[in-house]
Amino acid sequence: MKVLMLGWELPPFFAGGVGMVCYHLTGALCQQGVDITYVMPFGPRMIRSDYMKILVADNLFPRLRFQLKEVDSLLSAYQTPEGYDEEFRKHLLELSPTERARSLYGPNVFQEAYLFARKVKLIALQEDFDVIHAHDHWTFPAAIAAKQATGKPLVVHVHITEFDKSGGTSVNQRVYDMEREGMHAADLIIVVSNLIKQRIMNNYGVPESKIRVIYNAAEPVDPTVYHDASKIKETDKIVLFVGRITLQKGPDYFVEAAKKVLELDQNVKFIMAGTGDMLPRMIERVAQLGIADKFIFPGFCSREEVAKLNKIADVFVMPSVSEPFGLVPLEAMAQETPAIISKQSGVSEVIQNVLKVDFWDVNDIANKVLAVLHYQSLHNELKQHGFVEVRSMTWDKPASQCLDVYNELLRMKKGG
C-alpha cells in the first residue's frame, strides 16, 4: 500500500496536536507495511525520516521557494486568517522594499494553500502511490488537485472544523468553503470523533455513509519526568489547566469553577498553562473575583514543562466548549494525574476512567475537583485505572483502521 499523505506540519515544525497526530500515525502505519510519501508545504531544506519519505514542497521548486521563503515561519495549522494577515503585515515592515515585493507573492494563508496545491499536483504526477490522505483543510486544495491529476482515490482527515475553533460564533466563510469543498471532493472522510461526525453531517452536508470515525491514541510520555513542587504541595493542592487560552478551550469556566472550589477549600492553587487571546481577560477576571493569589499563569509551556506540570498536579481539568478529540487529558493521565474532562469532547467518547462534566456546569466541575482532592480513594482509583487505560491506547489501532479505509478506497475504485 502506497500513500501520498498531505499535511501542513510535522514535529518539530508544528504548532499543535494535528502535527503530533500525523507524526504518530505515520510511524504506526509504516510499521504495518504502509509506504508513505509525506508532503508538507514548508520545512527545513534537509529533512529526513528513517521510516518514510518526506517532501517539503517548497524545497523541491527552487524558484518558487525563493519567492516564498520569507513567509515560511508565519504559517501554522492554528493560524487564523486574521492572525496571519496581522503577522504578515508586521513581517513586511521589517523587510527591505525588494524583499517585500517578493514576499507579496503569498500575501495570505489562502494563497499559500493554493500555491501548495500547484506544487503538489506536480509532485503527484511524479510519485507512485495508491491513495491520497490529506490532513485538515489547508491541504484540501492540494488534495483535490492531486486527485484530479492522477485519478487516485482521496480520503480527507478532519481533525477540527471551523465551528470548533470559533465556538460557532464567527465562522470564516472562506475557511468553511475550503473545508466543504475538500469533504465533498473526497471519496471517504476520516473524523476523530462522533462529535466531528455529527458536525460535518449537520453543517457541511456530508452523507453519513462517507464518514469513518477513527479515534486518536495517546502519546507515549516520559514517565521519569520529575519536578520538585514540595513547597506548594506542603500546604496546597494543585488544579491544572493546559491549553490555548481561547474560547474553544473554556478557560472562563475553569476560572468560575475555581472560585466555587475556593469557597469550600482555601488550600488549592490553580495553574493555567498556555496562552491565547483570552489570557488578559482571564487574569482580569481572577483579580476581579479576588482569587489572584490562588492562580498561576506560566504562559506558553514546552512539552517538557507540560509534562512536569502534569506530574505535580492533583487533578487536571479540560473544560473545552468544543473539543474535536483532545489529547491533553491523556497526557495528564499518563503522568498519573486524574482528569476531569468536558463531555463536549471527542476523547470523552473513548475513555472511561475520568470524570466527565458539561463545560457550562461550573458547580459540577467544582464538585468533582473537590471530590478528587478530598476523597483519597477516588483519587487513587482514577489515577491507577486512568494510567492503565491510557497505556493501552496505542497508535497501532488507529493505524490499522486507516489501513482499512485505504483498502476500502481501493475496493470502491475497482467496484466503480
Binding site: 469550600l264 470524570l355 478530598h374 476523597y375 477516588l378 482509583e381
Partner: protein, 451 residues
Amino acid sequence: MVSICFYFQVHQPFRLRKYTVFDIGNKSDYFDEQKNRQIIEKVAKKCYLPTNKILLNLIKKHKGKFKVSFSISGVALDQFQKYAPEVLHSFKELAKTGCVEFLNETYYHSLSYLFDKDEFKEQVLLHKQKIKDLFGQEASAFRNTELVYNNELANFVQAMGYKTILAEGADHVLGWRSPNFIYTPKTADKMKLMLKNYRLSDDIAFRFSNKSWSEYPLTVDRYAQWVSSTNGNGYVVNLFMDYETFGEHQWEDTGIFQFLEQLPSELLRHPDNNFVTVSEAAEKYQSVGELDIHHFMSWADIERDLSAWLGNSLQNTAATELYRIGKLAKQSGDAKLIEDWRKLTTSDHFYYMCIKWFSDGDVHKYFNPYDTPYEGFITFMNVLNDIVIRIRDAGKKKSGLESAGNLDSYVQSSPSEYAHNFISDHPSLILMDLNVNTIKINNIDPMIKKL
C-alpha cells in the same frame, strides 16, 4: 419425581439524586423522587403488572398445582405503596391464592450482615413485620441480599428462627455435587439449604433472547425436557431469578410472556413433575449431606463473590464509612435520619461503583443512574458527609439540652464551615470525639483483606 421451585426476586432501590458538595449541610433531600417514580411506573407497566396477571391466571388454571415464591425487598414495597399501589394490590391477590410464598430478607436489601450484625437483625425483623402486615405470612425461609451466603450466616439466621435458606449453586462450592438436592449448612444443622440451578435459571434470565446462543430460540418443550431430565438425579430444580426478567430484562417481543404462560402445562404433562414453594420443598425432601461454605459467595457476575459491591477501594471506603456511623445515626433518635441512613445501605449504591467494566459492565449499567462508577461514589460520599453533619447536629442538640438545660446555649455553625470540615474520605473521624465508645467496627477489616 422432580419438583420445580420458582423463586423471583423483586427489588428497586431508592436512587440518589445528583447531590453535590455544595448541598452538604444545606439540603437533605437525597433521593431522586422523579426518577424513582418513573422507573417504578415503567417496570410496573412492562413487568410487574403483566407478569403478576399471568401468574394469577396460571394458578387459577392449574387449580393449586402451580406455585411460586417471591422475595420483595422492603424498599421495593415502600415504593409500590408510594408510586404504584396497583402493583402491591396485585401481589396481595397472589398471596390470597395460597400458592405463593413470600420469603424474608433485609428490609433495605443491604449487605449489613458483612458489617453490622445488629443492624442486619433489625432490618430482617422490619422486613418480617412488613411481609406479615401486607401478605399475612409468617416467613420461615430466608434469602440474603444477592444470595450472599456462608456457613456463619446460615448459623446466624438459624438462631433467628428460620428453617430454610437460599444460595447460589456455584460450581466452585458444589464441585461434583448437584444443586438439585437439599443440603445442610455446616454449623447450622437444623437449616435446609437450597441452591440455585444457575444453568437452567440463566437459560431464562440471561440467554432467552440471545440470538448467538446455540439453543435460540428456546421453546417450552425443549426447556421442559431439560428440567424433566433431572429426574433420577435430584429432587428439586431451583429456578431463581430476578422478577424483572419478565418484560424488562427480556422484553415482551422476545416471547418471554408466552414462554411463561405455556411452561407450567408443559412441565405438568410429565406425571412425575410438580411445583413447590421454597418451604414446601424444604419440608418435602431430606438433606443429602452437609455443605461447607466458608468464604462468602453470591449470585452476581462470573466471580460469584462479593467483588461486585466490595471489589475496589471506592466501594470499600463508602461501605466502611457508612457502617461506621450507623450506631451514631441510630442513637440520634431522629427517625428521618435513621431511615435516610438505612436507605443508603441498599446494595445497589455499591454496585453502581463497580469498575469491572469490560466483562460484566453491561449488567452493572442496567438501571444505573450514573455515567461512571466514580460519579456514584462522589454522590454517595457527599450524601454521607451530610448525614454526618446531621448526626453531629443531633448530638449537639441533645447534649446542649441535657447539660445547659436550654436551647439558647445551642449555637449552630454555618453550613459552609461544616462542609469544609467534612468533605473527606473519612467523614466519621470527626465523630469519634463525640462518642468514642459507641463506635465499634465489626468484622470489616479481615473481610476487606480477603478481597
